[in-house]
Amino acid sequence: MTNVAIKIENVSKQYRLGVVSTGTLSHDLKRWWATSVMGKEDPYLKIGEANDRATKGTSEYVWALKDINLEIEKGDIVGIIGKNGAGKSTLLKLLSRVTKPTTGSIKYNGRIASLLEVGTGFHPEMTGRENIFMNGAIMGMSRAEISDKLDMIIDFAGIERYIDTPVKRYSSGMTVRLGFSIAAHLEPDILVVDEVLAVGDAEFQKKAIGKMQDVSKGGGRTVLFVSHNMAAVKSLCKTGILLANGSVDKIDNVENIISLYYGKSKAISSNLNDRSDRTGAGNFRYTSIFMYDKYDKSIVEIISGEYVKFVIDYRNKIEDIDPAKFIWGILIKDFYEHVIIGYSSIDTGLKLLQISDEGQIIIEIPKMLLRGGKYYVRLFASYKDSTPENFEDVIDNAFTFDVLQGDYWNTGVINRAANEAIVEFNIYSK
């Protein structure tokens, strides 16, 4: 018995850029002449460039995917990540047979259900119940199958009260709930999911991810999941695939892949003068940021619970600046863009006492009680108030540092159980 659920061999997909209709007929005729009459290869398959969105190419044909070779194991949950335009959606489209590959082949067993969108084929005039049957049938379920699961679907979606109301009266969240609930009850051999969980509230997202895990654990089914939500990818997937410019960059366990992805997408230097990825008027600018330990040594890595000092240099061109009206802020975000710590003059009420033309802001953190992982520092400054038009300087990933899991409690044991944060406590027994 084979253990491979999907085998992708040399799959490439070429797209033509620009307006499709211009010159279609002439290209079609040339293609037909070459392939059918002369018996040669398609002339347009030889040209084409790697799909780099930002650079202007010379060819109007690009390869959205180029020579993809993958074997996906049965029962695996695979997260596919990559920048916009890396070919993630194209790959999913090929897998769900919405379009065909230009070359190569994809082989699999069983039924593939694709969830590139929830509620495909929903008709706004039909009731929730009618749409369950319609959408279920589009996804390949039989009417008997849907009837059997109808109660479960309605229950999972949690919209029983609205089930006989036309879908046009639903909120977008309710539509997603209903659509996902139908898809979750499909029981396919291979489930292909695009970023459909983006809508819907947190509670439902959690439920949906749980359901997807059940799908894979329960029936040995294979799940392919594309998302920009790294937290979801990490908690759901075992294996990760990093796509870049239409090719497979790396396949590894999901955590390594996510680190690799972040490492690639965030170039970090503590000198901020040359950073172009900033917004704001720029009369006040941060020029550098450094992190020091208790011995005043510049570091980029600390052990959880240690002393840390941030030294931030700035340059100011605002004339007659009133320190009372100046707003500073520093946010520390984790891997998944969640803000973990936020210090600012708005929240803390701590204003700078003096602002010179060039100077330093020093922030001391006696105990950096963060769990292990990679963290990003966001700096921002504004004058008068914190509305976007008064932003002076905003730099998203001004600085990156790593926190190593440490022996915070001095027990000789690395804090394996340390979860979201470390909080000081006392314990008594009676």
Partner: protein
């Protein structure tokens, strides 16, 4: 060695018509047909009555314009019967063709997200229009029997009435065939859509709907009969009313035409359905 039962590849065979797969999706065909009816009369007062109001009003208008003003012959058949019979057949053909010709463009949203045999859509459109045709046919029978009992001598149904199912199949097959060819080609060349829009109006005038084929000089009738719908309409009138031109040759021509058309249609449709998302 792994064995895989399903295979996604760039090209497929010419006649790779996967009927088993289509059969697996029969519930989807049913749902599409049902959806057509459920949504058709939601938020209307007259509801399903709209299915019959349209052909009745058209008949009245044709009686006024072509029957009275233009004074076109109806071959001795009572005008309401003559026009109504032509209109319901023609409506079935033209509605089906028009809707089938827009399949890819109108269903991009769904086709772009989910795979199912695309042939499900034209088949369900043809079936759902067939149901409408049958409802209109019931109205026709009522009108028919009224004239049959009030002026019985003129109306002599004959053995050829047994051909009625074949005529319906011919109409369905022709509109399906033309429809899927047009829809396949319009994904790339939208010009065809404009062509079809007025073409279908002109087409009606080369079909004996508002005039009997008899009114055309005998040596020129073949020109009108090149239109495969001609024999369908004429046979229908001949079979139930006893007036009109009946010819096995014309009928056979339409039948062969339909078979070739459907085969061509399926070949083109199959070729387009796999990659149309890139060109539409």
């Amino acid at each position: 060695m792994e064995i895989f039962e399903k295979h996604i590849k760039p090209k497929s065979g010419l006649f790779e018509l996967n009927l088993t797969e289509l059969w697996e999706y029969r519930d989807l065909i049913y749902m599409y047909v049902k959806r057509d009816f459920v949504t058709f009369y939601k938020q209307t007062i007259l509801g399903p009555l709209w299915f019959v109001i349209q052909p009745i009003l058209t008949t009245i208008m044709f009686m006024f314009v072509f029957g009275n003003l233009a004074g076109l012959s109806t071959d001795g058949i009572p005008q309401p019967l003559f026009y109504f019979s032509g209109i319901i057949l023609w409506n079935y053909f033209s509605d089906c063709l028009t809707r089938n010709s827009k399949i890819f463009i109108e269903n991009q949203a769904v086709f772009g997200k989910v795979y199912f045999p695309r042939l499900v859509v034209p088949i369900s459109i043809t079936i759902s229009n067939l149901v409408r045709f049958l409802i209109q046919f019931i109205i026709f029978t009522i009108v028919y029997f009224y004239y049959f009992f009030s002026s019985g001598s003129l109306i002599c149904p004959n053995i050829y009435a047994t051909l009625l199912p074949l005529l319906v199949i011919l109409t369905a097959g022709l509109s399906l065939g033309f429809g899927i060819i047009f829809s396949s080609l319009t994904t790339k060349y939208r010009d065809l859509n404009f062509l079809l829009q007025f073409g279908i109006q002109l087409w009606m005038y080369v079909t004996p709907i508002i005039y009997p084929l008899n009114s055309i000089p005998a040596n020129k009738q073949w020109m009108i009969a090149l239109n495969p719908m001609t024999s369908v309409v004429e046979t229908f009138k001949y079979a139930v009313i006893g007036q009109g031109v009946f010819s096995w040759i014309y009928l056979l021509y339409s039948f062969v035409f339909m078979i070739i058309l459907l085969l061509t249609g399926i070949v083109i449709f199959n070729k387009v359905e796999k990659g149309f998302m890139d060109t539409v």
